[in-house]
């Protein structure tokens, strides 16, 4: 069989699309090494000083701590709620089951600005509670659809007879869940948790309305570029991108990404 050494149209198109998706980020990567104190292209010299600057800027340190704390909390809360909701949606037949499914998914379709403002109003004019508490609730809402989607997909892929079999062998419902459902859901749950953390970590639009003196990392970055024009934010972005790539790599290695997007 002879095969032309010329790249096929499919290959060219594929490469073009991938380049199109990656190019903006590649630009950030290049700019982050620019020695000049401007967000400009092409770079005039090479330097790592903006990376040093990332670690010496106090608002970023606060931001990372805030964002991680928020991500961990909303991940934990939404995982518990999400797994319970998914079990109800997949395993039980009740009035309003479809409605519940749609309702859990609803935050995906509400503009984040609306969610941010709504939460701000609740915090300050109705409940009079701290913005931080409301921020946790907000992030749970944002993250929950992703958790539920993934857990539902994994549950639907699981044979319901496994739980029945466990119960007929003498397992009470909670034992069947603990010894059969949960271990089999394991990888799917890990994937959902990673997704929750990533979605919470990089949320900006809705979060912006509720942060006070201790901003999250994306808000801190935004506040930084409002006053400074140097590539520090590009360096920060490159670092978070690296974190993202690492997360994707680990998920692919441990779970297989196709399980997540099923």
């Amino acid at each position: 069989m002879t095969r032309s050494s010329m790249p096929s149209i499919l290959q060219i198109t594929t490469f073009g699309v991938l380049l199109f998706m990656a190019l903006p980020n590649l630009l950030i990567l290049v700019i982050s090494f620019n020695s000049a104190a401007t967000l400009a292209f092409p770079p005039t010299g090479l330097s790592l000083k903006w990376y040093a600057n990332v670690f010496s800027t106090p608002s970023f340190a606060v931001g990372i701590k805030q964002s991680l704390l928020l991500a961990a909390t909303s991940c934990a809360v939404s995982m518990v709620l999400g797994v319970l909701a998914s079990l109800a949606i997949v395993r039980f037949r009740f009035f309003g089951r479809q409605a519940a499914n749609v309702f859990v998914m609803a935050p995906l379709f509400v503009p984040e600005i609306v969610m941010g403002i709504a939460m701000l109003l609740w915090a300050n004019t109705v409940l009079f509670i701290s913005n931080t508490a409301v921020l946790v609730v907000l992030h749970c809402l944002i993250v929950l659809p992703y958790v539920v989607r993934l857990v539902v997909a994994n549950l639907q892929g699981m044979d319901p007879n496994l739980e029945s079999a466990a119960m007929l062998l003498g397992a009470r419902p909670h034992q069947a869940f603990l010894h059969v459902t949960l271990p089999l859901l394991g990888k799917g749950l890990l994937g959902a948790a990673v997704f929750a953390i990533v979605m919470s970590f990089h949320n900006f639009t809705a979060t912006m309305f509720l942060v006070g003196n201790s901003p999250t990392l994306p808000v801190a970055a935004y506040q930084y570029i409002r006053t400074e024009n140097d590539p520090t934010v590009a360096a920060l972005s490159t670092l978070t991108m690296l974190g993202g790539i690492l997360a994707v790599y680990l998920m692919e290695k441990w779970i297989g990404l196709e399980r997540l997007v099923r």
Partner: protein, 368 residues
């Protein structure tokens, strides 16, 4: 240390069992009595309610009305994990994250059985199902037949009072399936457990079960041994479900000496033993099994005890052990005759007209 499983044979009884699913009646007032140690097959087309009946006995499907009792104890309200009813699922439902040995001891671990006894039961169950060599394997690595044995071992390790099997052979490939029928029956008898098996395959039911309950639209149409169902079907549904049946429709005439005279065409009547009370003038179907029919070139003038109907040979299908001969009678209805081996009846040539003859006693009257 050797341990033998303590399997007590218990009977199962269903009384007026009625199940609705999403507003549809799936089981309709079913009564069924199963003897201790008996193997009963629930046979019927898909949607007849056989799997629902199994799930109801297991406690996975709550009935609308009626009672289920096992060993004389009413179980209707007992949850599945306290019923002590074992079930082998159609796809076996083995726990994929556990080894064969862990699958087998799952039930004992859930019931907090002491480790020493657990190990003994595990050893005994694995040995009984010839799985000892596979104890550390994961289910995904096993063949269909091995998975089935693990499913049975896992179930009997909990010493259930009755074993339910849902289409146990359907997950196996066709070649393996036929051999496994006899093996499964031998296995169930060796274990010595009361078993209810669901199948849509009549041969499977005949090969495995002591008695067969033929189900039709949520009811048991007839229950009996294979021979009873084959030779004394109470309806066309049962007659058609097990084997092939030729039907002759006619009007009942006079009755003499326990034999009904049935007119099936002008100047043509056959005789059949009357089972129920059937009145003169009533329309009935007379069933005749294809292997009961012999061929004759001429009508032998009134041979006593023999029915004769003219027909024309359409096709001959040689299948080795048997040959299928398809006839058409004068009104164009297909008649099937099955003859075996070197039968001289097979000498008939295509298109030839001859007489189909069978003993009057081999005619089965079925209400039309």
């Amino acid at each position: 240390m050797t341990y033998s499983l303590n399997l007590e044979k218990r009977g199962v009884a269903l009384r007026g069992l009625t199940v609705d699913l999403q507003g549809k009646r799936i089981l309709d007032d079913v009564d069924l009595e199963i003897e201790p140690g008996e193997i009963v097959a629930l046979l019927g087309p898909s949607g007849c309610g056989k799997t629902t009946m199994l799930r109801a006995i297991a406690g996975l499907q709550p009935p609308l009305r009626g009672d289920i009792s096992v060993g004389g104890k009413i179980m209707t309200k007992v949850p599945p994990y306290q019923r002590n009813v074992g079930m082998v699922f159609q796809n076996y439902a083995l726990f994929p994250h556990m080894t064969v040995a862990d699958n087998v001891t799952f039930g004992l671990r859930m019931k907090n059985v002491a480790a020493a006894r657990r190990d003994a039961v595990q050893t005994a169950s694995l040995a009984m199902l010839e799985l000892t060599a596979l104890r550390d394997a994961y289910p995904a690595r096993l063949s269909g037949g091995q998975q089935q044995r693990v499913a049975i071992a896992r179930t009997i390790a909990t010493e259930p009072s009755v074993l339910l099997l849902d289409e146990p052979l359907s997950a196996l490939d066709k070649k393996l399936r036929e051999g496994m029928r006899i093996e499964l029956r031998a296995l169930l008898k060796k274990v010595g457990i009361t078993a209810i098996i669901v199948t849509h395959d009549q041969e499977e039911a005949l090969a495995i079960a002591d008695r067969i309950a033929v189900m039709d639209r949520g009811r048991i149409a007839q229950i009996g041994t294979g021979a009873e169902l084959y030779h004394k079907p109470n309806s066309r549904f049962v007659a058609d479900f097990i084997g092939y049946m030729n039907y002759f429709e006619g009007t009942v005439g006079i009755q003499t000496g326990g034999l009904l005279d049935i007119t099936i065409a002008p100047n043509l009547s056959i005789r059949a033993p009357s089972a129920q009370t059937i009145r003169e003038g009533e329309r009935v179907s007379v069933g005749v099994r294809p292997e009961a029919i012999r061929l004759a070139p001429q009508k032998q003038a009134s041979v006593p005890g023999i029915n004769a109907v003219p027909a024309q040979l359409v096709s001959k299908e040689f299948l080795g052990v048997v040959t299928y001969l398809r006839f058409e009678d004068d009104s164009g209805i297909e008649r099937m005759v099955i003859r075996s081996g070197e039968d001289h009846d097979l000498a008939v040539s295509d298109g030839a007209r001859c007489w189909l003859q069978w003993p009057e006693q081999a005619s089965i009257v079925i209400a039309a």
